[in-house]
Amino acid sequence: MSTLQVELVAADRKVWEGPANQVSARSIDGDLGILPGHQPILAVLVQGEVRIHHDGTVGTAVIDNGFLSVNKDVVTIVAEDVDASKLGA
């Protein structure tokens, strides 16, 4: 199974970048889970946690409202403020 390439971008820098098997975030319409092969989507996110699953470990980052775009297994999560302190490496 292919993996997702995840980018976490805050207003003033790129916070984190890495591979993942699954990403889940809270969009305006409810929780949203992204697996590899997801169709291209642009979703507005509300304040909350983004969970990035990779090889059995789960990293979380707290974002304020932002958006998420998926295109060809590249997931870009963009928010003005990103707290990625609980996200390893």
């Binding site: 003033d12 169709q39 507005v44 775009s69 963009v78």
Partner: protein, 298 residues
């Protein structure tokens, strides 16, 4: 004679003190300009992601968003002037303000009423000194703007332009200084609102052009959420570039001030030496003259 030397020495002392200050400011600006440039670079991933997203939505939605639709007759135009909090940066402030004056004159010529929004104490002083009105001011961060600052400005502007009151502003122009390189910074005018999406320096490459996105909640909903962010991101970029330009201009101004101080010190040292030498020469000739007068009188 002695008084002259003392005066020169005094001048040398005072110029050296000035030189120390300008040198310190030069070094400070030099170290901060690097950080400012880095901040500009680090903000590009965000701007790029937003630009791509906004252009993706914009092509799918024909919705007339208040931030993108052009009004037919524009009565009130807002001008956001980004200057510095402090002077001592060569022509930096006056260049921006001159450019803004040109823009204001042009807008008035077009029959628009101009509302000023000011960033930086220098711009505020410029307006208060001329007893002109302005709508809002933001000061105290021009050397090191944060995203928070950009958001504050963006929220105010977006709120004003979406205000349904016919007396509210219809378009927004920004005057800032673009950072071209360490030696060149150009004052620049951009029209921020209504937005022209998909302009900009970075066009996405052909192959990754616009996949068929699905939108959540809806194309309009996404556009509503994204456009204000896009405005903020552009403002943030303007603020960062202006900050880098300000520091680069200050560094250059302080470098030439330091050079001038050195030149002055050299000049006064020469003069002081000359005066001292003249004094010695005069003393000698007085002694010789006195001695020979004594010898002759014998």
């Amino acid at each position: 004679m002695g008084a002259q030397i003392r005066e020169y020495r005094q001048r040398i002392r005072s110029v050296s003190a000035t030189k120390k200050i300008t040198r310190a400011m030069e070094l400070m600006a030099a170290s901060r300009v690097v950080k400012a440039q880095q901040a500009v670079r680090e903000s590009t991933p965000y701007a790029r992601a937003l630009t791509r997203a906004v252009s993706a939505v914009a092509t799918f939605s024909n919705e007339d968003h208040p931030l993108t639709s052009e009004k037919e007759d524009v009565k009130q135009a807002a001008v956001l002037i980004i200057a510095a909090d402090r002077g001592l940066a060569g022509g930096y402030n006056s260049n921006v303000l001159k450019e803004s004056e040109r823009l204001v004159a042009r807008l008035v010529d077009e029959g628009k009423e101009v509302r000023a929004y000011l960033v930086g104490r220098r711009a505020v002083n410029f307006y208060t000194f001329r007893r002109r009105d302005f709508v809002a001011e933001w000061t105290g961060f021009t050397e090191k703007p944060t995203f928070e600052n950009a958001r504050e400005i963006g929220e105010k502007i977006v709120a004003d332009i979406t205000d349904p009151d016919p007396d509210s502003i219809d378009e927004v122009h920004v005057v800032y200084t673009r950072f071209v390189s360490m030696v060149t910074q150009e004052p620049q005018v951009i029209r921020l609102l209504p937005l022209e999406v998909v302009e900009g320096e970075e066009k996405p490459a052909k192959e990754d052009l616009l996949p068929l996105y699905s939108f959540e909640p809806s194309a309009e909903g996404v556009l509503d959420a994204l456009l204000p962010k896009y405005v903020n991101a552009r403002l943030f970029n303007c603020l960062l570039q202006a900050a880098a330009s300000e520091l680069a201009a200050r560094q250059r101004a302080m470098k030439s001030a330091t050079d001038n101080a050195e030149e002055l010190i050299r000049k006064y040292t020469r003069l002081a030496n000359q005066a001292r030498q003249a004094e010695i020469t005069q003393e000698i000739s007085e002694i010789v003259g006195g001695a020979s007068a004594l010898a002759e009188s014998k």
